[in-house]
Structures are given as C-alpha cells and as structure tokens.
C-alpha cells in the first residue's frame, strides 16, 4: 500500500517508529494528486509549496519526539474556511480573489496539532447544493464513477479523501453537506452537535444550522479529528463551553445492550432498493453486535424539507447581504451609481442556485409573508426538535439511510431544484434539531457505488456516535474496496 492510501493512525504509527517521514507522506499525496486530480478535480487551490515546508518542519519536531495529534498528516480544507494569505473562494465568482487576513479557528487548531495543509477543496457555491455542480470553478467528479457527482456541498473534501488526494479533510454541514457526500463517496463523515465546533472564520451560509466536521477513511480517524476540532471558542458566541472528552476512548468498546431506534418515516417510497437493502443489512449487523433495534417515530419528518428551505434561505439572504462589491471580492464596473453597482455586482457575482435561495429567503422574510413562512417554519422546527428529544428517551442512537439513492449522474438534477433538494431528505432534520450525526460506509450497489448508513445521537453525544460507529465498522467487515482511478 502506498503511503497516500493509509489512515491517520496508520501513518502516525509509522512516523513514531521512524519508518517514514512527513515529507515522504506529503510527497506521496501530491504524487497521487498529480495522477488523479485532472479527472476528479477535488481542489480549487493546491498548497504544494507551503505543504512541503510544513512537512519538513513536522519532521524536525518528530525527530525531537514532539508529536502532536496530527503532526505531519496531510489534510485538505473546504474552500469556505478562511486561511490567512491563501485564496478562499467559497466556490463563488464573488469571492474569486478573496485572500483572508486571518485563519478560521479550526484552521488554527489543525495547524497547532501539526497538520500539513494540501489545499482548498471544491464545493457548491456558498455550500448551497447537493452535488458540487454549482461551483464557479467547475464540477468535482465521484472517484467511484467519474460520470457521477460526489455529493455536496462538501463534494471536493469527500472526493479528495475517497481518491486518496489527502489523508483526511474538513467540510461543513448545513443540511447534510458532510454526511451526504461521505455516503456517496464511501468515506466516514461527521456533523457534530451545533456549537461543538467553532464556526469562527467559516464563511456563513445559514448560521443556526452550519457546523464544521471531518471526512476520514475510518471511524478511528474521525475520533482523532474530533479531538482537534471540538471545543469552546471565545470568538464564537454560539460555541458551547461544554467539556470535550478524548474521543478515542470510545473506540472498540462494544454496544452490547444498546437500544437503536429505527424511524419508520425514513424507509419511504422512492428510496433506492439497493440502498434500502444495504441499510437493512446494517441493522442486522448492529443486532449481531449486541444492540436491540426498535421501531420509533419522528412524526414531523415529512415537513423537514419545507422548514429547511425556508429557514436556510432566510438566514442565507441576510448573511450574503455583505457581498456588495465594496469591502472585498468581485465588483462589476458597469454600475453608474451605488445601487446599480450593488445589483450588477451581485447579479454577475452569484450563480443561479445562490440567487434562487436569496430570493426565497428575501421573500419569506418580506413584509406580509414573515408569519406565513419564517415564523411558521420556526414553529414546526420546534416540533421537529421535540420529536428527537422524545425519541432519545427511548433509544441510545437512531439508525437511518444517509441518502435515498446512490450518487446520481452529473447534470441529472441541475434543472430541477426540488429534485435536487430531495437528495438531503434524510440529513436535514439533524441540523434543524442541532443533534450530531455520522455517516459510515455500509456496502456497495451492484454497479459498485458506495452506500452510507447514518447514526444520530442526542446533543453533545459525539462520543456515543463514535462508540457505535466503531462497533458497527468492526462487526460489518465492509469490503475494503478502493476506487479504480
């Protein structure tokens, strides 16, 4: 196995034993990027030169025995995390030349933990999308089938891990943007509890839903990444001052006697039969591991999509008001006065999906419609949250499919926004309720496309999710296939 194909924990063992160096690992990853990036297109910006310098600095530390949580490990960042001095576009023309003067808190934390940054990954524009097709910088392809989408919005981060173009990566999840692409690319992806990870320096989409999390090759790596990312940040007033456990302690502990809730509303018409079969197998696997599965109900599930597509655009239209051609980013030179400059800048700077959501949000918040849309949606959101609170009095974790179908073809859903929105139908409720979720690979379709199973737990129960996912991974013996690239 090439170095680029290994996990964080495998590479750390080798680094500690002096069997390899960060410079070798980083060179291996960039060799892989050179070989496959033309086809996959995971990245918007590569950070090759600084990565090699960071790797050499890591090797100096390792020789001194100063090894941090991620020392010398190549990590990719979604291109909505501010990186000091490095282009940060959010997949948009309007930020095509934006160079942040500071690092996001998670970037700072990863740096302190010793990570080597490979680059900034492609994404749907402003994280609005489920396929990474709305990026101004082109489409990322699914490493398992280059005709297909990698999922989104963090499609570049998911594809980069699946294609071994980094060892692990960071994404953000507003309605499934980590878990959905993780499922479609056959990797592990976690959305932590709202407030668990600081959003400072994350370019905002919907501030009450956005959360940063990792993509990894296995559950142990997910625990390692969470050890770096989680924690209170005084610069981010919605981050929560709760104690952060060592997530590695939850690995390999077993789930004997646990109760697993299977929500009946998540096995609906329209779910792909092969996806359903793979998830039903996952249910049997957790039973073999000693857990008891019970049917539960999340009665407001069918309203999640409608609530989400009011709340998220409403928050987005105010967050995106800052892109006015004045302070940073693209400015149209055509406007003769200030108002024209604003309109021409925003009309040319944003793509169609972003405009659609700004329009929905502006409409839903406008005078006369606020009560019917935004207030109503926020009330139904309260009921969705209550569904989860009640469910977690009956079970330790909830198990669902991550997505209704495997990866679809590039271009298949771009002309039909409602059809595209339905790809997130099983992941959206989690963000509305603020609970954590993880997607773990659970098999392949006959066409060789990966399928993911999603586990959910109560607020701040990421440790429980890691324990459950680790036990599942061990019991399931999912075939160790890699994409043929």
């Amino acid at each position: 196995m090439e170095l680029y194909g290994l996990t964080i924990h495998e590479l750390q063992d080798r680094l500690r034993a002096g069997e390899t160096t960060s410079a070798e690992i980083t060179a291996s990853v960039f060799g892989r990027i050179d070989a496959v990036e033309k086809e996959v297109r995971s990245y918007i910006t590569l950070m090759r030169e600084t990565a090699m310098i960071e790797a050499q600095a890591a090797d100096v530390k390792i020789r001194k025995g100063d090894i941090g949580i991620l020392t010398g490990i190549p990590i990719a960042l979604k291109d909505l995390l501010c990186t000091k001095g490095v282009l940060t576009t959010c997949g948009s023309r309007i930020l095509q030349n934006f160079i942040p003067p500071y690092d996001a808190t998670v970037v700072e934390k990863l740096r302190e933990a010793g990570a080597v940054f490979t680059g900034k990954t492609n994404m749907d524009e402003f994280a609005m999308g489920s396929s990474t097709e709305t990026s101004f910088f082109g489409v990322t392809r699914n490493p398992w089938d280059l005709e297909r989408i990698p999922g989104g919005s963090s499609g570049g981060s998911a594809a980069a891990v699946a294609a071994d173009e980094c060892i692990a990566s960071i994404g953000s999840d507003t309605g499934g943007s980590i878990r959905q692409p993780a499922a479609l690319c056959g990797v592990v992806g976690m959305k932590p509890t709202y407030g668990r990870v600081s959003r400072f320096g994350l370019i905002a989409f919907a501030s009450s839903l956005d959360q940063i999390g990792p993509f990894t090759k296995d559950v142990e790596d997910c625990a390692i990444m969470m050890n770096v990312l989680a924690g209170y940040d005084p610069k981010e007033s919605t981050s929560v001052p709760e104690d952060v456990p060592d997530y590695r302690q939850f690995l390999n502990k077993g789930i004997g006697g646990w109760t697993v809730g299977i929500p009946k509303e998540y096995f609906i018409d329209g779910i792909d039969p092969e996806v359903e079969a793979a998830v039903r197998r996952a249910i049997r696997v957790v039973e073999e591991a000693g857990a008891k599965c019970i049917e539960i109900s999340l009665p407001h599930t069918e309203y999640c999509l409608a609530v989400y597509y009011i709340v998220a655009p409403a928050e987005a239209c105010s967050n995106l008001a800052r892109y006015d051609g004045v302070k940073y980013g693209f400015r149209s030179e055509e406007g003769r006065d200030l108002m024209e400059m604003y309109k021409k800048t925003r009309a040319a700077g944003f793509g169609a999906e972003v405009k659609r959501r700004i329009m929905i949000g502006t409409y839903a918040l406008s005078s006369g419609y606020y009560d019917a849309y935004y207030k109503k949606a926020s009330q139904v959101r309260a009921l969705i949250k209550r569904d989860f609170d009640e469910a977690f009095t009956r079970c330790d974790v909830i198990l669902t499919p991550t997505t209704p179908t495997p990866a679809f073809k590039v271009g298949e859903r771009t002309d039909d926004p409602m059809q595209m929105y339905l790809s997130d139908i099983f992941t959206i409720s989690t963000n509305l309720a603020g609970v954590p979720g993880i997607s773990v690979p659970c098999g392949f379709t006959t066409a060789g496309l990966p399928v993911g199973v999603q586990f959910l737990a109560g607020h701040f129960q990421e440790g429980r999710l890691i324990q459950f996912a680790s036990a599942y991974e061990k019991q399931a013996h999912i075939e160790q296939r890699r994409p043929k690239l």
């Binding site: 160079i99 929560v240 409608a306 400015r331 003769r336 200030l338 659609r356 009330q379 926004p417």
Partner: protein, 98 residues
C-alpha cells in the same frame, strides 16, 4: 399552472429588495421555480402550531458576554487589502449623491 404563489412583478420586487437584477428570461424561469418551491411549502399549513414557541436555534445560549477589553484588531491597510476600490484608508464606492 394551477396556483400562483408569486407573480413576475413580485419576483422583480423581491429582486430589488435583494439587490439583484434579472433579464426577462431569468424572471420567467425564477417565477416558475419559486412557484414550485413555494407550493411545496404549503405542506406546513397541515401542521397545527397553535401555541408552539418558535425555535430559531436548536441549542439556545443566553447572552455570551465577554470582558470589555480592547483586543488585537487588524490594521486598516490589512482590512482594506481586499477592497475592489480604496483611497486614503477608506472604501471607495461609486457616486451616491447627484
């Protein structure tokens, strides 16, 4: 279309509120798509929400105060470095007053 939630005129008005502008063809397309989306939202009318307190943040934190101390800020030239137009330490915009 059986039901119209939003007209072309309203789309043009909302576009103005959002500081966007569309060509005639785009207005047509957006009107159809927004209608489809808003019709889907009608689903929420089925839910009885009488007396339900709206939730805007799943994990509600009360005011997060910090000490009133001056911290490190970005120097003005750094803050202005990304601006498309700037002069004399200020952001430069097109003429506002005739």
């Amino acid at each position: 279309m059986e039901k119209m939630r939003i007209s072309k005129e309203e789309v043009a008005h909302v576009a103005h509120l959002a500081r966007l502008e569309f060509g005639a063809e785009e207005v047509e397309k957006f009107t159809t798509q927004l209608n489809d989306i808003l019709l889907y939202m009608d689903k929420l009318g089925e839910v009885d929400t009488v007396g339900v307190e709206p939730v805007t943040h799943a994990i509600a934190r009360k005011n997060a105060f910090r000490d009133d101390k001056v911290g490190v800020s970005l120097p003005p030239e750094v803050s202005l470095a990304n601006a498309p137009g700037g002069r004399g330490g200020c952001f430069l915009v097109p003429k506002v007053i005739e």
